[in-house]
Amino acid sequence: MSYFFPIIIIMANYRKEFSKIYDQCINKIYRFIFLKVSSEEIAQDLCSETFLKGWEAYKNNPKIKNPSAFLYRIARNLVIDYYRAKGRTQFVSPEVVPIIDPNPGLEEKAVLNSDLGQVKAVLADLKEDYQNVIVWHYLDDLPIPKVAEMMDKTEETTRVTLHRALKALKEELDKREVKEV
């Protein structure tokens, strides 16, 4: 019994610390996932699961060196699993298609047609490394050394990847612009 209360206090502290991590990272992790899955509901689902797994791991090992990088790693794996599962259990019956409105609503159309919507769509089509390097450096403002650490690459390679990612994004956007004209 005498061990019981210290355990409760330790757990309460872990909870408090993880709560801070949650507040600091929730927007970034949500955005990271949303840009990959392009669906609010799926992003919410995967984001909750990321933090649930993060919390389970944190309870067992609160000395995780870089919680933000750790959460990004979980999120990346969950997105990969999601696409794998989606590929495996893809719904193929054509009869169900007419039930869903295949034409996007006015609001969705407006977003898709806007410049920002296009950048988002093209970004989602880039390969995973390119998406990550762009999101971490330009959206999350992480310096190159940090991004290199997250990608498990050297700083030089990360700089080259970033350059190529931006080039690929620009080329694709230009291509789509020409098509529209």
Binding site: R15, F18, S19, Y22, I26, N27, Y30, R31, F34, L35, E41, I42, A43, Q44, D45, C47, S48, E49, F51, L52, W55, A85, K86, R88, T89, F91, V92, S93, E95, V96, I99, I100, D101, D115, L116, V119, K120, L123, I134, Y138, L139, L166, L169, K170, L173, D174, E177
Partner: protein, 229 residues
């Protein structure tokens, strides 16, 4: 043609993407069991905080029970179910996965009955994923073939699925589950083949073999109560 500078500034505009505030605090509550702090009386802070946390926690969970895929509280419902599944032993997993698949099927039926077409693809994906879980859990547990209760439930699941398919006028693909029927049927036939059976039961066994030849594996499973009496 966009310049690199313009492109970077557009990318930075994507920072506008943020989750809904309500969802952020609800998800936090369901993961950590905490609530955003607001208190009426400073003296009762700890008690009130505890009470409010407990009330919100149970309230959210209670409300999330009726959520269907595509609903705001559906992720809370999933978190709750996932947390519960941590405590399920390997032996109970087939039963638990069947119950979970039945729930997904009920959600799907509810969506179909209330004509919520937009939520249908997600609900179908959820059901297919839970059907895969059923298939996995049945492959892991040895001796499941003689578990009449589990077989009865799996047959019931498929019947409900067939009713839903008629309502939707479409087939829901669950390949892994279909393979499970086949494996179970073959297991049962070979298992009963090694036993000494009464004449009536021998008759049932030969019916099972005949149905298996015609690849009617679910009907083989339906005969289990007759031979297992």
């Amino acid at each position: 043609m966009v310049t690199e500078k313009e492109l970077i500034s557009k990318l930075k505009e994507l920072r506008q993407i943020k989750p809904e505030k309500e969802w952020v605090s609800l998800a936090k509550t369901s993961i950590l069991g905490e609530t955003p702090g607001f208190y009426l009386f400073p003296y009762f802070r700890p008690a009130l905080a505890g009470l409010v946390s407990v009330l919100i926690f149970f309230g959210v969970f209670a409300f999330s029970q009726n959520a269907v895929p595509g609903d705001f509280l559906y992720s809370v419902k999933k978190i709750k179910e996932r947390s519960q599944s941590f405590f399920v032993s390997e032996q109970e997993r087939p039963q638990a996965s069947l119950e979970s698949a039945q729930k997904r099927l009920k959600e799907l039926t509810k969506i179909a009955e209330t004509n919520q077409g937009k939520k249908l693809p997600q609900a179908i994906n959820e059901f297919q994923a839970s059907a895969s879980e059923v298939a996995k859990s049945f492959s892991k547990t040895e001796g499941i073939g003689s578990n009449s209760e589990a077989i009865k439930k799996i047959v019931e699941l498929d019947k409900n699925k067939q009713i839903l398919e008629q309502t939707l006028a479409t087939k829901i693909e669950t390949e892994e589950l279909d393979n499970t029927y086949k494996n179970l049927a073959e297991y049962l036939i070979s298992d009963f083949g090694t036993r000494t059976l009464t004449e009536d039961k021998e008759e049932v066994l030969s019916q099972m073999k005949e149905l298996a030849k015609q690849e009617k594996y679910l009907e083989v499973l339906e005969l289990l109560p007759l031979i297992n009496e």
